[in-house]
C-alpha cells in the first residue's frame, strides 16, 4: 500500500529551517483612516529543528509559545510567513496543491478533543474509512477490511461491534482510539499528535500512551508530539524542544533536557511541574511575571524580564540556539554556566 523509498533514506523525516508565522491582527477601517501600521502577532518567530525518522519528537511550551502553530505549519495546514519545511527531502513550499493532497496521506493528525474531531453523524466505520476513500478510491472493496484491521490494532474489538456505532455511543477512551485508528489507517509516515491525551483521565492515559508507542514501532511511524504537559511527555518523547514566545529555547534528548536543563526558562518549567510525592515539595520560588504579549515581545532574549540570572546583554542581544553538548542546544548567553 505504501511505497517506501528503498535506498539512502535521509535520517531526518522533517527538517524545519527558520520557520516564521506572523498573524496580522485584524485592522479595522479606523486603522486605515488613521494610516496605522499593521500589527502582527509573532506566533512563531524563527524556529529550526529536525525530526528523525522513527522518533517521537516533542514540542513543549506554555500557552502562546507557538507549539500548535508549528505543528500546523509542519503538515502545511498553514503557510509559513518565512522559512522552509522539508518533508522526506521535499520542500513543501514547492508542492502544488493537488500534489499536496496526495502528500496528506503521509502526514496525519491526532487532535486533543476526540468528540470535537469526530463528526457526530458519521459512524465509527465511516470515520475510519473516510481517509481510505480519499486516498485509495480504487480499492473500495477492501476498505472495510482495512478499517477492521486497524480497529483491532487500536483495541476496538470486536470491530463489528463498533463499526456502525456513532461517537456518542462509545466511551471517551474508545473515541480516543477511533481518532488514532482514523489517523493511522492511511499508513502515514508522520503523525502530528497535538495534546493527544490531554482530555483522557489519568487512569486511561498510560494505556493510550502505550498504544501509541506500540503502533509507532509496528507501523514505522514518526511522531511530532505537541504538549504542555512535561510530565507526560517524559513517557513518550525521545527528544524534546522547549518553546517560549515563538522561539526555541532548548532542544535535546529528553533525558538531557530534563535532568540538566541549560536554559533558565526550562529550569523554571522543570521545577514548576508538581511532583506526585509529598516528600519532595518544591521550595524554589517561581520566576516573576507572566508570559508577555507576543505582539510586542521583549527585546533581546524574550525571557529576560523574568529571568533570575539576566544581565545587561540579555535585553540587548538575542541569544542564538547553540549546541553546548552533543545533541543538546540552548539559546542563553550564560548556558555554559549550567554545563
Amino acid at each position: 500500500m505504501s511505497e517506501k523509498p528503498e535506498v539512502s533514506v535521509p535520517e531526518n523525516l522533517v527538517e524545519v529551517n527558520n520557520l516564521k508565522k506572523w498573524f496580522q491582527i485584524q485592522s479595522g477601517m479606523l486603522d486605515g483612516v488613521l494610516s496605522r501600521e499593521a500589527v502582527y502577532v509573532r506566533a512563531v518567530d524563527g524556529v529550526s529543528f529536525n525530526i528523525r525518522r522513527g522518533e517521537v519528537f516533542g514540542l513543549a511550551g506554555e500557552s502562546g509559545s507557538g507549539k500548535t502553530t508549528i505543528g500546523r505549519l509542519v503538515i502545511r495546514l498553514e503557510e509559513p510567513t518565512e522559512g522552509d519545511v522539508i518533508f522526506d527531502g521535499i520542500d513543501l513550499a514547492t508542492v502544488k496543491s493537488g500534489e499536496m493532497r496526495k502528500m496528506r496521506r503521509r502526514m496525519q493528525v491526532i487532535f486533543q478533543d476526540p468528540m470535537a474531531s469526530l463528526n457526530p453523524r458519521m459512524t465509527i466505520g465511516e470515520a475510519i474509512t473516510h481517509g481510505l476513500k480519499i486516498h485509495f478510491p480504487g480499492d473500495s472493496e477492501n476498505h472495510r477490511d482495512t478499517a477492521h484491521n486497524m480497529m483491532e490494532k487500536v483495541g476496538l474489538t470486536p470491530p463489528n461491534f463498533f463499526y456502525d456505532k456513532y461517537p456518542h455511543q462509545i466511551s471517551g477512551g474508545q473515541r480516543q482510539r477511533v481518532v488514532i485508528a482514523r489517523a493511522l489507517v492511511t499508513l502515514p509516515d508522520l503523525v502530528l499528535a497535538d495534546e493527544p491525551i490531554a482530555m483522557a483521565d489519568v487512569s486511561v492515559r498510560a494505556l493510550l500512551l502505550d498504544l501509541m508507542v506500540r503502533l509507532k514501532n509496528e507501523l514505522n511511524l514518526t511522531y511530532l508530539f505537541i504538549t504542555h504537559d512535561l510530565a507526560t511527555a517524559k513517557y513518550i518523547c525521545d527528544r524534546i524542544g522547549i518553546l517560549y514566545l515563538g522561539k526555541m529555547v532548548e532542544i535535546g534528548a529528553l533525558r538531557d533536557v530534563y535532568t540538566h536543563p541549560l536554559h533558565p526558562y526550562t529550569q523554571a518549567l522543570m521545577t514548576a511541574v508538581p511532583v506526585p510525592d509529598p516528600r519532595e515539595r518544591r521550595t524554589q520560588a517561581m520566576p516573576a511575571g507572566e508570559i508577555p504579549n507576543p505582539i510586542n515581545p521583549p527585546s533581546g532574549c524574550r525571557f529576560h524580564p523574568r529571568c533570575p540570572i539576566a544581565q545587561e546583554i540579555c535585553s540587548n542581544e538575542e541569544p542564538e540556539l547553540r549546541e553546548l553538548e552533543p545533541g543538546h542546544s540552548a539559546a542563553c548567553h550564560f548556558a555554559e554556566d549550567f554545563l
Binding site: G172, D201, V202, A272, P274, P278, M286
Partner: protein
C-alpha cells in the same frame, strides 16, 4: 497537619450521607452517593478523582449551588455548627461568599465582563456588610491585591484586561475580602500555565497561614495535591474510597483504585519506576454503576463479595478511612480469597 493538638480535630465542615442526583429523561444519575467527609479547620484538603466521579458536584453541593436537573436528595451539611440544608435560601445567600467562597476553573464566568474589578469587589463587600463604607471596602480590596502580588492600579481594569493568573487571584481576593472561612477551589489552577499555577499554589499556601482559611482543593491533578494538601480524599464513581494524610496515602495507598491511580500519575523526576501503571478499563457510567464495589470490574484484587455487597468507608487506623472489603470483616458466607487475576 496544621492541627498539632492530639485532641479531637476541629471540624469546620461536617458532611454526612450527602446524596446528589441528576434527573434527566427518566434516568437518575447519582453523582454523589452517600458521602461522609470532615473538613478540618485550617487544613488544605485535596479532593481528587477523574472526570465524572462527582467531585465538582460535591463541591457545588457544599455551597448548595446544585441547579436543576440536579437535586440534593439527602444528607446533612453541618458548617461550623449550622445545618445548611435546613436554612432558607435567603439566609443561605448570606453564607455564600461570606463564609464559603468558591473559585472555578474559568474565572471569566464568575467575573462580570462589563464591571471593573474594584466595583465587583466593593459591591460584594457592600452586599454582605452594608455598614462598611465604600472607601474602606476599596482599601481592603487594594491591600488584598497587593498582598496577592497584583499592582493595585489593576483594580481599575475589566476582567478581560487581566491575565488568567490575575483573574484567579482576583477570585481569591474576593473570598478573602469577606473573610470566608472556607475556600473551595474547583480546578482553579487547571487552565493556568504551569509556572503561573505554581505561583498561585504558593500564594494559597501563604494566605492559608496568614488568614487561617481552610481550603478544599478539588482537582484531577494528583501531583498538585501531593505538593500542597495536608489530607487527601479520593473519589471514584460518586463515592469517596479513601481518605488520609497525604504522606500516608501517597507512600502507602490502601484502596486498589488509589494504588493504581497513584502509579499511573506521570512523574517528571527520573527514578526507578519508569513505567506508568496501565489500569484496565474506564470509570463506569454513573447512570448505571456496577453492583457492589464500583471499582470491582477494574480491580486486580477483586473477591467474590465485591460484585455483590458494597463495602463501607470505615476508619481502619487513625486519620485513615478506606472503602474496600480488603480492610473490613466479611459477612458470613464470604471468603476473602482473591479471584484469579484477569
Amino acid at each position: 497537619m496544621t492541627n498539632n493538638q492530639t485532641s479531637e480535630p476541629d471540624i469546620l465542615y461536617k458532611i454526612r450521607n450527602l446524596v446528589v442526583e441528576y434527573h434527566t429523561r427518566g434516568v437518575v444519575v447519582t453523582a454523589v452517593d452517600h458521602v461522609d467527609l470532615d473538613i478540618q479547620r485550617g487544613e488544605v484538603l485535596g479532593l481528587v478523582g477523574e472526570s465524572g466521579c462527582g467531585k465538582s458536584t460535591l463541591g457545588k453541593a457544599l455551597m448548595r449551588m446544585i441547579e436543576p436537573p440536579g437535586v440534593i436528595a439527602g444528607g446533612k451539611l453541618w458548617f461550623d455548627g449550622t445545618e445548611l440544608l435546613s436554612l432558607p435560601e435567603k439566609e443561605m445567600r448570606e453564607w455564600r461568599g461570606s463564609k464559603i467562597s468558591m473559585i472555578f476553573q474559568d474565572p471569566m464566568t464568575s467575573l462580570n465582563p462589563v464591571q471593573r474589578v474594584d466595583e465587583h469587589i466593593i459591591e460584594t463587600i457592600k452586599v454582605h456588610e452594608p455598614e462598611t463604607k465604600k472607601s474602606a471596602a476599596l482599601e481592603r480590596a487594594q491591600s488584598l491585591f497587593e498582598r496577592l502580588g497584583i499592582q493595585k492600579r489593576r483594580l481599575n481594569d475589566y476582567p478581560h484586561q487581566l491575565s488568567g493568573g490575575m483573574r484567579q487571584r482576583t477570585m481569591v481576593s474576593l473570598g478573602l475580602s469577606l473573610n470566608a472561612d472556607l475556600i473551595i477551589a474547583d480546578e482553579a489552577t487547571t487552565s493556568l500555565d504551569v509556572i503561573v499555577e505554581a505561583k498561585l499554589v504558593d500564594q494559597l499556601e501563604e494566605i492559608r497561614k496568614e488568614f487561617w482559611v481552610t481550603i478544599l482543593l478539588i482537582t484531577h491533578n494528583i501531583a498538585l495535591v501531593a505538593q500542597i494538601a495536608d489530607r487527601i480524599a479520593v473519589m471514584y464513581a460518586g463515592k469517596i474510597v479513601e481518605i488520609g494524610l497525604v504522606n500516608d496515602v501517597f507512600l502507602d495507598p490502601l484502596h486498589p483504585y488509589t494504588q493504581g491511580l497513584l502509579q499511573s500519575v506521570p512523574n517528571i523526576k527520573f527514578d526507578e519506576r519508569e513505567e506508568l501503571f496501565k489500569m484496565p478499563g474506564e470509570p463506569p457510567s454513573l447512570s448505571n454503576p456496577p453492583p457492589g464495589c464500583r471499582f470491582h470490574p477494574r480491580c486486580p484484587r477483586v473477591m467474590p463479595i465485591c460484585s455483590q455487597v458494597e463495602p463501607q468507608l470505615l476508619e481502619i487506623s487513625p486519620d485513615r478511612l478506606v472503602d474496600c472489603w480488603l480492610y473490613q470483616d466479611l459477612p458470613e458466607g464470604y471468603e476473602s480469597t482473591t479471584e484469579v487475576e484477569k
